[in-house]
Symmetry: C2
Subunit: 140 residues, 2 copies
DNA sequence: AATCTTCTTTAGAATTATTCTAAACTGTTG
DNA sequence: CAACAGTTTAGAATAATTCTAAAGAAGATT
């Protein structure tokens, strides 16, 4: 356990260094919460609450900064499904989402199960960055 | 022309009545701006500015109310692509969008050109409301 | 280890988009 | 046209996010 944790921390340090981000206490804490166990979908507020609850003081501004820095570094992905909230996804591999409208929750759809065909050519002078699919669902 | 405009107004009145919305001056003005000429993607702020510029006083609150009422009535569709802005689309038929990240513009992709396959079953007790595809593009 | 420089963090103010509120107003119906 | 229910509105309130400027911590340099 301790070994695993140590390994995880060391790994996180590497990832931060690779992104030219100093491995500060705050960033390590947030990275731990984000990446320690499986993939997650979080909002800034929720992550901030989590850190606070865990007894680690991190300001909300830092949470926002960090989430954006991680996104720029490619270790987080921002998901736009709802105009009022921004979600961050720790899974940056190709995949898509169900969005449960009743509960504002995201559910992953593996990238290899889903396919989009018939895309027209993008306008001249532009290139495709990403294709996002959101399947909106609600209580039957 | 005058004939066409009259026809259009009458038609808009019908649509509003059908949605149990009184055809007030404000709603007719906004409907005119939205539906008079081809399909459009607008934000509340932009529509408000347009109405104001056209010399017709409509409060911003009314623009928001109206856009939401029209959406509920199914004559507008809300598009979520960017966490900071909400777009309303006058085309409510099945279709998708390119989103130009550099300029925050939406471009239609006809619904019959694009297809999504391999969708997994939605979670039990839920049904699919809509499948949204956003193709994010930027300057090459 | 002391120093310097640069990057980070932070509290709180500021901004942006949107919703709410309560009072004034208007369309519709009898 | 009176009466009622539905609408509009200015401005306050809220929510999510970004900005600011000052204090704090990392990493390099001596």
């Amino acid at each position: 356990m301790a070994e695993k944790a140590a390994h995880a921390s060391a790994d996180l340090c590497q990832r931060l260094r690779a992104a030219a981000l100093r491995p500060t206490r705050q960033r390590l804490v947030l990275a731990e919460l984000l990446f320690a166990r499986g993939h997650r979908h979080v909002t800034a507020e929720a992550l901030h609450a989590e850190a606070t609850r865990a007894g680690i003081g991190v300001s909300l501004a830092t949470v926002y900064n960090t989430l954006h820095q991680f996104t720029a570094a490619g270790i987080l992905r921002q998901v736009a499904v709802d105009a009022t909230r921004t979600y961050f996804d720790t899974n940056v591999d190709a995949h898509q989402h169900f969005y449960v409208e009743d509960s504002s929750m995201l559910i992953d759809i593996p990238g290899d199960s889903i396919a989009v065909s018939g895309l027209p050519q993008p306008p001249k002078g532009t290139r495709i960055d990403r294709v996002d699919v959101v399947v909106r669902i609600s209580k039957a």
